[in-house]
């Protein structure tokens, strides 16, 4: 039993969904994604018992590429994030009807497959293939099932596709160079490379371009808001909940250990840029008129803080980053789902057209409120654990980083509460807002329960990732 | 058996081939008539064949000649197809002036 079974299950699920036909597609997708969740939990259990669930096989001899999937705590945490969010995302879309839903759900599962592959692969080229593979389904999801004017959408999505693809090419170049030095793509061999300062700088820069665009760190974020707005909510959830974590995960797994001295040398710039993203994203979010765009910029701000945590190169920073990644993944999916719930009833996402919903739907209000509060990192939610640890690690590097990064708790509260006030509160809206359905409520409750539970007891996740982060830090500090 | 090159020298053949080849190139560039251009290509092909045979003798090895044999086979096929294309071009355009063939424009 090794981790490839998850990959296989998702791939088979994707194919099965495609052949299940339009009527059954969503249910088949849900079953397979739940299966993947169960399987990854089982594998996690095996890992905790000390079993070897990695898989290394031959693939190509020249260039020497192997099918290497390694599962340590960090990878498993990210895989679990993916496999836990996928059924949620699939389930959350039960209230929508899509044309050609078999293609749609097959693409969703396929994307999940590619993302899990990215998190597991430890062979550079294999990782790169999965990394790019994940881009293809989201391109079609956003392009075909998106909303708004088709021309506008096409422009935004194509820009996103080419932009991220262009960034990744630099990463490919870096891998090619590393291969020429090491004669192998395996991560262990790449870790052991002795690179000169100049080489490290260029490799770091190449990785940085790929990841900064994917994460996104300002000023590489321009694709984000439009795509989030135009993509269908499922696509937005996949993008913001999981896909941008691919970038952050890769920073930890690939960029920092391969080019550690560059990371150390440019730490102030990197942290500065990330924190600038925090403040910039928060400020831009203040005056957004579209609910999804506002959430997109809030995501930009939060991810900026996470990236800053990555570049502190401390154990606290990295473990905080993992917690915050998972927490943010859940909360942003929840928030986008709330936007979707509103859209299903009011057919609009313009904040100015909303308001006065609270009096009609107490349940939805409470759940939305909790998600908003989690997003502003109220103590007791998992986000607080992550944000606290990240800010703490920043303060260890330099107290001013923590002060500047900490503005997120002020500005974040400002724009989120302003949004909540304009969307939910005020005189009762003239349009009827139906209370959430059971399906919708289940999605919300699952997310909220997760956030609150780990907010009070984050130990399992921290314990899971700490050993692997220590290994990576050992490589960084060697 | 005497090596013929003892009396002529490989250089002479090289120069001959080079000149022949360059004449072919010149023809390709100089003329507009597609048939003449085609002939120039044949000349270039022959120049190369000649060199092959010369070196085959130089090395006292048959490989070169075998290669020439195949290249002749290919040349025959190529000429047949090329001329057929020319015929069909002529049929459609009424001319085989290569300056008229501008449909490849990007």
């Amino acid at each position: 039993m090794d981790v490839t079974t998850i990959l296989l299950l998702l791939l088979i699920g994707s194919i099965a969904t495609f052949f299940a036909g339009d009527k059954l597609a969503s249910k088949v997708a849900l079953i397979f994604s739940l299966g993947a969740l169960g399987l990854s939990l089982y594998l996690l259990n095996l890992l905790n018992q000390g079993a070897n669930i990695s898989y290394i096989g031959e693939w190509m001899s020249s260039p020497k590429v192997s099918l290497a999937f390694k599962a340590d705590g960090l990878s498993m945490a990210m895989v679990l994030l993916t496999t836990a969010l996928t059924p949620l995302i699939v389930f959350s879309s039960f209230g929508n009807s899509f044309n050609n839903s078999k293609n749609f759900y097959a693409l969703v599962l396929f994307m999940s497959f590619a993302m899990v592959g990215t998190f597991l692969a430890v062979d550079g080229l294999l990782y790169y293939i999965f990394w790019e593979l994940a881009l293809i389904p989201i391109y079609f999801i956003a392009l075909i099932w998106g909303n708004g004017d088709a021309e506008d959408r096409k422009k935004a999505v194509v820009k996103f596709f080419i932009y991220t693809l262009g960034g990744s090419l630099f990463m490919l170049i870096a891998f090619a160079y590393l291969y020429s030095k090491a004669g192998s793509f395996l991560i262990g061999d790449l870790y052991q490379l002795e690179l000169t300062g100049t080489e490290e700088f260029w490799i770091f820069l190449a990785f940085f371009l790929a990841y900064a665009i994917k994460i996104p760190i300002i000023p590489f974020h321009t694709w984000q808001a439009k795509v989030y707005q135009k993509a269908p909510t499922v696509g937005t959830m996949l993008l913001s909940g999981i896909m941008l974590k691919m970038g952050l995960y890769s920073v930890i797994r690939w960029q920092l250990p391969i080019a550690p001295s560059a990371a150390k040398a440019y730490m102030p710039i990197l942290i500065g840029l990330s924190i600038a993203g925090v403040i910039y994203g928060s400020i831009v979010a203040l005056r957004q008129k579209d609910l999804k765009k506002l959430l997109a910029y809030s995501s930009l701000a939060h991810v900026g803080l996470i990236a800053a945590g990555c570049y502190t190169l401390t154990l606290d920073g990295l473990s905080g980053v993992v917690s915050q990644m998972i927490a943010h993944g859940f909360v942003i999916v929840g928030l986008f789902f709330a936007a979707e719930v509103i859209f299903r009833r009011y057919e609009t996402r313009t904040i100015a057209d909303l308001g006065g919903i609270r009096s009609q739907t107490p349940q939805f209000t409470s759940m939305f409120m909790i998600l908003v509060l989690a997003s502003v990192a109220l103590p007791g939610t998992f986000n607080f654990v992550g944000e606290f640890t990240v800010l703490y690690s920043l303060s260890q590097v330099n107290i001013w980083y923590a002060v500047l990064g900490g503005t997120t708790i002020i500005l974040g509260a400002y724009y989120m509460l302003k949004m909540f006030q304009n969307v939910m509160l005020g005189e009762t809206n003239t349009k009827v807002f139906a209370e959430v359905t059971t399906n919708e409520a289940i999605t919300f409750v699952a997310i909220i329960a997760f956030l609150l539970f780990f907010g009070l007891y984050p130990k399992p996740i921290v314990d899971l990732v700490t050993p692997s982060l220590n290994e990576i830090l050992a490589v960084i500090n060697k | 058996m005497n090596n013929i090159l003892n009396q002529i020298g490989i250089e002479n053949y090289i120069f001959l081939s080079v000149l022949l080849f360059c004449i072919g190139v010149f023809g390709v560039l100089y003329r507009r008539n597609a048939i003449i251009v085609f002939m120039s290509i044949e000349i270039m092909l022959n120049a190369v064949n000649l060199l092959f045979v010369a070196f085959s003798t130089y090395h006292q090895d048959a490989e070169g000649q075998v290669f020439v044999f195949f290249s002749m086979a290919v040349a025959a096929a190529e000429v047949a197809v090329g001329l057929a294309i020319l015929v069909s071009v002529f049929r459609n355009l009424g001319s085989i002036d290569i300056d008229n063939l501008k449909n490849l424009k990007g």
Partner: protein, 625 residues
């Protein structure tokens, strides 16, 4: 056993919250209110038990429940610490909390969302207890943010009114500014001592090898946190706006309990502040300035609750003055007495508002003495207490603050005294305008004037009694509070021996208060003066009436720039960045367009280039060899 009891003490209000939020709409209003009240009473009773136990054996009760957040150099657990300080706070938080819950059953009876009100109120008590009984700073921070959240929820309780929501949002964000300070302070402390546990910090500090500059910074950051929560300069502006919430909320959260969290925190960390005299100076100055500024604004306010709000800010300023002077016990003493009489005043004003069906403008009140005798008398007692009249509770505590100030710094003493005189004036102004002379409201309101039901008056009476006798806990002779808190606050301040100077100071304070009362009496009773309409106010009065335009100043200085920056980013910078990215695409397109011209379809040209290319390649290969 003790652990379980402590957990019950903590979780009982939370159970009330869960009940009310999930089942509150299904049971009747009275049941929901009763459950809400009962859960708090349970906590109160348990607090008494613990208090009695502690009084007996003097040993604080500390327990770590489970590991929470783990960072590289230390672990944070979810710990409970029940010592003298936290139990003192627990007693009055749960005690006054119970009374106010009781009061709310009647006060909120007609509100459609009554069960939610009780849910939030219970949640508030839960978080307040968490804040108080945590054994480390981070658990305090949970409560700290949690009470901020409840404050947000309760200020915006009438959510259909957008200005109320604005006030709620403002309160939350102002608090968060302070919270950031708190967080940073925690980070510094954690970096210095690798722990956030109070006892461990204290031990580490007594080793005395910490960098004093960093300690100062940590203390300053924590104090910034306190200014946010306790509404001190420059972050006080949210508290008057917070009066948008229902009156019991103002009484509980914005007068008696939550706003004293800052004082609790500074007292908790007294060992840290004692080591940083510079920061103590800052605290004292900020406290005195706040007392004066808020009192002066209070002089001219016409909204009955706003007057009380500014009075609260001013009194909190006095407490911080005491803290800054190192007189922690005095501050705690004033916190407790203030909790009694200010809660009583707020509840009384709530009773008035209830009687007038929501009218809050004092210009439209007057002559209510006869219609609402109990409310009048209880409020009168509390007013005397807050004005500092012998022998009411406020006299003792305020007098101690003034005495401490006199000992340390005469300027601060003068400022504090002026603030006290102003307090006496505006409080009696409030009483005169509300209860004396003729009724100035509409006929219909006059017709409906009535005393509030007993559920409202009973808490008033209890609180009034406490306002009378509350001073007893720390009378200059016995100094019970000082002794009780001695294990926590290494008694720097020996009890004052009652000498001539002390009696003189008491006399001056008393005279000052009486001057304030006479001044108010002369103006509003004898002069029959009624404040003018908003439009008619002019000159300096207008500046004061408009709160020195501080809100406008903040809007102009911070909110507007951020918003216009946001607009600038959104409309200018974002598209510009987008264009930069797009320019790569445009560049590629341009190369394509130009390159297209080379492909003109001229085979001759292609051949030329081809041959030249061959020449070049051959030459290159040859030279390269």
């Amino acid at each position: 056993m003790e652990t379980n009891l402590a957990l019950v003490l903590l979780l009982s209000p939370f159970v009330g919250f869960l009940f009310n939020i999930f089942l509150g709409s299904k049971v009747s209003r009275n049941v929901s209110g009763a459950i809400g009240t009962l859960t708090v009473v349970v906590s109160f009773l348990l607090s008494i038990c613990f208090f009695a136990q502690l009084n007996q054996n003097g040993k604080p009760f500390e327990i770590a429940l489970f590991d929470w957040i783990q960072v590289s150099n230390f672990k944070l657990d979810f710990g409970i610490l029940l010592d003298q300080l936290s139990l003192l706070w627990l007693l009055f938080v749960t005690g006054i909390g119970s009374l106010i819950h009781l009061y709310s059953i009647s006060y909120m009876h007609d509100d459609e969302n009554m069960h939610k009100f009780f849910a939030y109120l219970n949640l508030f008590v839960f978080f307040m207890i968490t804040l108080v009984i945590g054994s480390n700073l981070l658990v305090m921070f949970i409560g700290w943010e949690g009470v901020g959240l409840c404050s947000y929820l309760l200020i915006g309780f009438w959510y259909k009114n957008q200005p109320y929501n604005d006030a709620a949002k403002k309160a939350f964000i102002m608090n968060r500014i302070g919270d950031l300070g708190f967080l940073i302070g925690m980070f510094i402390i954690a970096a210095l001592f690798s722990t956030l546990n109070y006892t461990e910090i204290k031990i580490a500090l007594s080793a005395g090898n910490a960098d004093s500059a960093m300690l100062g910074l940590a203390a300053l950051c924590l104090f910034i946190g306190a200014t946010g929560k306790s509404a001190q300069l420059p972050l006080y502006t949210w508290l008057p706006d917070a009066m948008a919430g229902p009156t019991p909320v103002s009484a509980l959260i914005h007068a008696a309990t939550m706003v004293t969290a800052g004082i609790f925190m500074v007292t908790r960390m007294n060992f840290l502040f004692d080591l940083t005299p510079d920061i103590q100076h800052i605290i004292a100055i900020v406290g005195a300035a706040t007392a004066l500024v808020a009192a002066s604004i209070g002089l001219l306010q016409n909204d009955i609750k706003k007057v009380l709000a500014y009075s609260t800010v001013s009194q909190l300023g006095l407490m911080f003055l005491a803290l800054g002077l190192g007189a922690y016990t005095v501050a705690v003493f004033h916190v407790i007495t203030h909790a009694f009489f200010k809660a009583c005043l707020f509840l009384g004003s709530g009773s008035v508002i209830h009687g007038l069906h929501g009218e809050q403008d004092m210009r439209k009140m007057g002559g209510l003495r006869k219609a609402m005798p109990i409310t009048f008398w209880t409020m009168m007692i509390s007013t005397l207490a807050i004005a500092g009249i012998f022998p009411f509770a406020g006299f003792w505590s305020k007098d101690e603050i003034l005495m401490v100030a006199f000992e340390h710094n005469k300027v601060l003493w003068v400022v504090a005294s002026i603030a006290s005189i102003m307090t006496a004036f505006y409080m009696f102004r409030l009483m005169y305008l509300t209860f004396f002379k003729e009724f100035r409201g509409t006929e219909e309101q006059k017709h409906h004037l009535h005393e509030s039901p007993s559920l409202i008056t009973i808490p008033l009476v209890i609180l009034a009694i406490l306002a009378v006798i509350g001073g007893a806990i720390n009378l200059p002779g016995s100094m019970w509070l000082n002794h009780f808190l001695e294990p926590i606050l290494a008694a720097k301040h020996e009890a004052h021996h009652l000498g001539t100077q002390e009696f003189m100071l008491m006399g001056i304070a008393l005279v000052g208060a009486i001057v304030g009362i006479i001044w108010a009496n002369a103006k509003y009773i004898k002069g029959g003066f009624v404040p003018k309409e908003d439009a008619d106010i002019s000159g300096f009065n207008k500046t004061v009436y408009n709160k020195y335009y501080v809100d406008e100043f903040y809007t102009f200085l911070i909110v507007k720039p951020i918003n216009s920056l946001s607009n600038f980013f959104r409309t200018t910078l974002e598209p510009a960045l987008g264009k930069v990215v797009f320019s790569f695409g445009t560049l590629a397109n341009g190369i394509g367009t130009q390159g297209k011209k080379l492909h003109n379809g001229n085979i001759g040209l292609y051949l030329f280039v081809f041959v030249l290319g061959i020449c070049a390649i051959i030459t290159y290969l040859f030279i390269a060899q």
